[in-house]
C-alpha cells in the first residue's frame, strides 16, 4: 500500500521542483563523481580540479532561469521579462524545454515554492545561487593557480567546497525552519574542515578546532530557539508561522511573548555567529589567520552572502504577512506596540554601554512615537510591533558590528586578521539594509524592495573586492612566504601591476566614488535614508571615514616603505595567469558604475518576488 501510494503521489510537483533544482543536483553529482573517480587506478590521472570546475560551470549555466512558454503561464510573462534581458547578456541559448510543456503541468516560475513548500524559488534564490556558484568557479580557478590544495587532498577539499555550496543554497532559499537548520549545518560543518585544510600546521588545526567548537555551540542554541519558535507558533513553515504570529499579535494574546522573544533571540544568535556579527564575532579573526587565504575568501564571501540571505528570509518572512488582511482593532495593536517596545528596551538597556547604541535607542524610540502618532490604517498593522523589534535588534547589531570591526582593524599586523575585521565590518554594512527593508515593509513596499536590491548590489561588489584581495594575499604568500603587512614593504617596485589592482580593491572596500564599493554603499545608505534610520546612516558614514586609514596603511607600506633585504622576489607580472586573474577581478570593480542601469534592473527584479 505504501509503495503504491508513493508511486501515485509522485506528483508532477516533484518533477517540476527537480527541474528548477538542477544546479544543486549537478553539484551533488559532481561530489559523487569526485569520490568514485578514486576507485579505479586510472582515476588519479584525471584532475579533480577539472572535474569540480566542469561540474560547477554546468551548475552555473543551469542556474540561469529558463523561460517557459508564455501561453502556459501568461501572468508570469510580465515578471519574467527582466530575466530574458539578463539571459541575453549571460547565456546565448537557454535550455529548450518547449517540447514537453503541457497546460496542466505548470512549470515552476520564479516566485513559486518548490518541494511542497519547503524551498522558495524566486528572484533572490536565483541571484544568490548564481552568485555562490560563480564564486565557487572563481575560487576553484584561484586554487588551481596557487596550488593549495595539492594533488593529494584536492578531491577532498573540492568535495567539501561543493557540499558547503549546496548548504549555502539551501540557506538562502529556505522557506521552512528544517531547511534553514539543515542548510546551516551543511554549510558550516564542511567549513570547519576547510579551515583546517593544511592539517599538519599547528595554527590551522587550532583554527579548525575553535571554529568547530564555537560553531557547534551556536548551532545548538539556534536549534533550541527554532524549537521554541516552531512550538509557540504551531508550525515550522515560515509563511504559516508569520500568519500565526500576526494572528497572535492581532488578538492581543501576549502570553507567548516571552517564548517568542527568547526563541527569536536564540535564532538571531545562530545567524549572528554565521555573519560574525558583534558579540559573536570572536571566532572570525582566529579562523581567518589559521586558515589559508583561499579558504578565507570562501568564508568571507560565500558564507557571509548565504548568512545574509538567510537573515533576509527570516526577518522578512516572519514579519511580513502576505495574503488576506487580518482585522485587528488598531488600539490593541498600539497597546502591544508600546508595551513590547518598553519591554525590549528594558531588556536591552542592561547590555548597552556604548554611547552609539544609546543614541540609536533614543532614535528608535523617537521613530516609534512618530509611528504611533500616525493613524494606523493599513491592514497588517498588527505586525508592526514585531517589525519594530526586528529592526531594533538587527539595527543595533549592525551598528555595533560595523563600529567594532573597523576599530579593531587598526591594531592588526597580519593582513589576514586585518581582512577578517574588515569582513566583520562589511557584515555590519550588509545587515543595515535588512533592518531598513523590515522597517519599510508595511509602509512602503517599493522602498523595501529597493533596500533588498541594495543588498544584492553590495554583494555583487563585495564578491569581486574580497575575492580579489584574498587572491592577491594568496599569490603573494606563495612568493614571499609571509602574510605580515610589514613584509609587503615596497612591493610596488617589484610588481607594480598587482599593487595597482590591490589599491583599486582597497579604495573600493573603503567605498570611494567611482568604484563598485561606492555603488553598493551608496544604495545601502539611500535605503537607510528612505527607511528613516538616520542614526544607522550616520554610524555607517562615520565608519566609512574610520575605515579609510587602516586600508590605506597597507597601501602605504606597499608603496612608500623601503624593501627589506631578506625577502624572496615577489614579482608577479600582470601579464601572467595569476596577474590576469587578479586583473579580471579588478576590472569589474573599476567599471561597475558604467553598468548602473542593468544592475539596477537585475537587483530590483531579484528583490521583487519577495514582496508579492
Amino acid at each position: 500500500m505504501s509503495f503504491y501510494q508513493l508511486i501515485v503521489n509522485a506528483k508532477w510537483e516533484s518533477w517540476a521542483s527537480t527541474l528548477v533544482y538542477l544546479p544543486e543536483i549537478v553539484l551533488c553529482l559532481t561530489i559523487v563523481i569526485l569520490l568514485l573517480l578514486r576507485l579505479p587506478r586510472w582515476g588519479s590521472r584525471i584532475s579533480s580540479l577539472g572535474i569540480a570546475l566542469v561540474g560547477s560551470v554546468i551548475a552555473f549555466v543551469l542556474s540561469i532561469p529558463f523561460e517557459t512558454t508564455a501561453e502556459a503561464n501568461p501572468e508570469a510573462a510580465t515578471t519574467a521579462q527582466p530575466v530574458s534581458l539578463l539571459q541575453e547578456e549571460t547565456s546565448p541559448n537557454p535550455p529548450d524545454i518547449e517540447a514537453s510543456s503541457e497546460e496542466t503541468k505548470a512549470y515552476k516560475q520564479p516566485g513559486d515554492t518548490i518541494f511542497s513548500g519547503l524551498i522558495v524559488y524566486d528572484g533572490l534564490t536565483i541571484f544568490f545561487r548564481q552568485l555562490l556558484i560563480l564564486f565557487v568557479v572563481a575560487l576553484l580557478i584561484l586554487m588551481g593557480l596557487t596550488g593549495i590544495p595539492d594533488r593529494d587532498s584536492g578531491a577532498d577539499v573540492f568535495t567539501l567546497i561543493l557540499g558547503a555550496t549546496v548548504g549555502f543554497s539551501l540557506m538562502v532559499s529556505s522557506n521552512h525552519l528544517l531547511i534553514a537548520f539543515l542548510g546551516v549545518e551543511m554549510a558550516s560543518v564542511p567549513s570547519y574542515v576547510l579551515a583546517g585544510t593544511l592539517k599538519g600546521r599547528r595554527i590551522a588545526s587550532e583554527a579548525a578546532l575553535k571554529f568547530a567548537l564555537y560553531g557547534a555551540g551556536a548551532a545548538g542554541v539556534m536549534l533550541y530557539g527554532m524549537s521554541l519558535m516552531a512550538g509557540a507558533l504551531g508550525s515550522a513553515h515560515l509563511p504559516t508561522m508569520a500568519e500565526n504570529l500576526a494572528q497572535l499579535t492581532a488578538n492581543g494574546v501576549d502570553d507567548r511573548q516571552l517564548v517568542l522573544f527568547l526563541g527569536g533571540l536564540m535564532i538571531l544568535v545562530g545567524l549572528a555567529f554565521k555573519l560574525s556579527a558583534f558579540p559573536f564575532h570572536f571566532w572570525c579573526p582566529d579562523v581567518f589567520e589559521g586558515a589559508t587565504a583561499e579558504v578565507d575568501a570562501f568564508l568571507s564571501v560565500a558564507s557571509k552572502a548565504a548568512a545574509i540571505g538567510l537573515l533576509l528570509r527570516f526577518a522578512i518572512g516572519i514579519s511580513g504577512v502576505p495574503g488576506e488582511p487580518i482585522e485587528a482593532p488598531a488600539a490593541v495593536a498600539q497597546a502591544t506596540s508600546t508595551e513590547e517596545a518598553k519591554n525590549t528596551f528594558d531588556i536591552l538597556a542592561i547590555s548597552q554601554t556604548e554611547a552609539t547604541s544609546l543614541t540609536f535607542a533614543a532614535q528608535a524610540d523617537q521613530e516609534k512615537t512618530k509611528l504611533e502618532e500616525k493613524p494606523v490604517t493599513d491592514p497588517d498593522s498588527s505586525v508592526v510591533p514585531i517589525q519594530d523589534l526586528i529592526v531594533f535588534l538587527i539595527g543595533l547589531m549592525a551598528a555595533l558590528t560595523t563600529t567594532f570591526g573597523n576599530l579593531a582593524a587598526y591594531g592588526q599586523t597580519n593582513i589576514k586578521r586585518l581582512m577578517a575585521y574588515s569582513t566583520i565590518a562589511h557584515a555590519g554594512y550588509l545587515m543595515m539594509p535588512v533592518a531598513a527593508a523590515v522597517a519599510l515593509l508595511s509602509k512602503d513596499q517599493a522602498g523595501a524592495q529597493e533596500a533588498v536590491a541594495s543588498v544584492v548590489v553590495y554583494l555583487i561588489a563585495y564578491f569581486f573586492m574580497n575575492l580579489g584581495v584574498f587572491a592577491i594575499i594568496a599569490l603573494l604568500r606563495n612568493r614571499i612566504r609571509s602574510e605580515e603587512i610589514e613584509d609587503y614593504a615596497g612591493i610596488v617596485r617589484e610588481s607594480p601591476g598587482l599593487v595597482v589592482c590591490f589599491g583599486i580593491l582597497m579604495f573600493s572596500l573603503i567605498g570611494l566614488p567611482p568604484l563598485a564599493g561606492f555603488l553598493g554603499k551608496f544604495w545601502i545608505f539611500a535605503a537607510l535614508w528612505e527607511a528613516g534610520l538616520i542614526t544607522l546612516l550616520f554610524i555607517g558614514g562615520l565608519n566609512t571615514f574610520f575605515s579609510i586609514f587602516y586600508y590605506l596603511r597597507v597601501l602605504k607600506v606597499m608603496v612608500l616603505s623601503p624593501e627589506p633585504d631578506h625577502r624572496s622576489p615577489a614579482a608577479i607580472p600582470i601579464i601572467s595567469w595569476p596577474g590576469l586573474y587578479v586583473a579580471a577581478l579588478t576590472v569589474p570593480v573599476a567599471i561597475l558604475l558604467v553598468f548602473w542601469e542593468p544592475i539596477r534592473v537585475y537587483s530590483l527584479w531579484a528583490a521583487a518576488d519577495l514582496f508579492q
Binding site: L182, A212, G220, L228
Partner: protein, 112 residues
Amino acid sequence: MFTQPIGVAHYLVVGAILFVCGIVCMTTKRNTIGILMGVELVLSAAILNFVAFSQPAFRVDQEASLGIDGHVFALFAIVLAAAEAAVALAIALNYYNNHSTIDVDRAQDLQG
C-alpha cells in the same frame, strides 16, 4: 504532583534545565570532549522540546501541535548532531596530533 496530567510546560522545564546544563558545560569545561558533551546536551534539550510540542494530548490548543513535523525535525536534528560530533571529533584528534593536548586553554597560538 503525581495526580496532575503532564503538559508541554513540564517538558519545557526539563528542556530548559538540560539547555542550561549544556551551556554551562560548554563554557566551564576546558576539555574539547567536555565541550562537545555540552553541545550534545543542548541539542538534546531542543529535540525534547520538539517532541513535546508534537504531542497534542499535552496541551489545550491541540490544533497548534506540531504533529509529524516535530518528529521529523527531531530525527533530522539527531542525524545532524551525530554528523557534527563526528567532524568535531576528527578535528579534535587532528589538533591532538599537532599539539599533544586537547585543552582549549592551551590553544594560544592564535590570539583573538
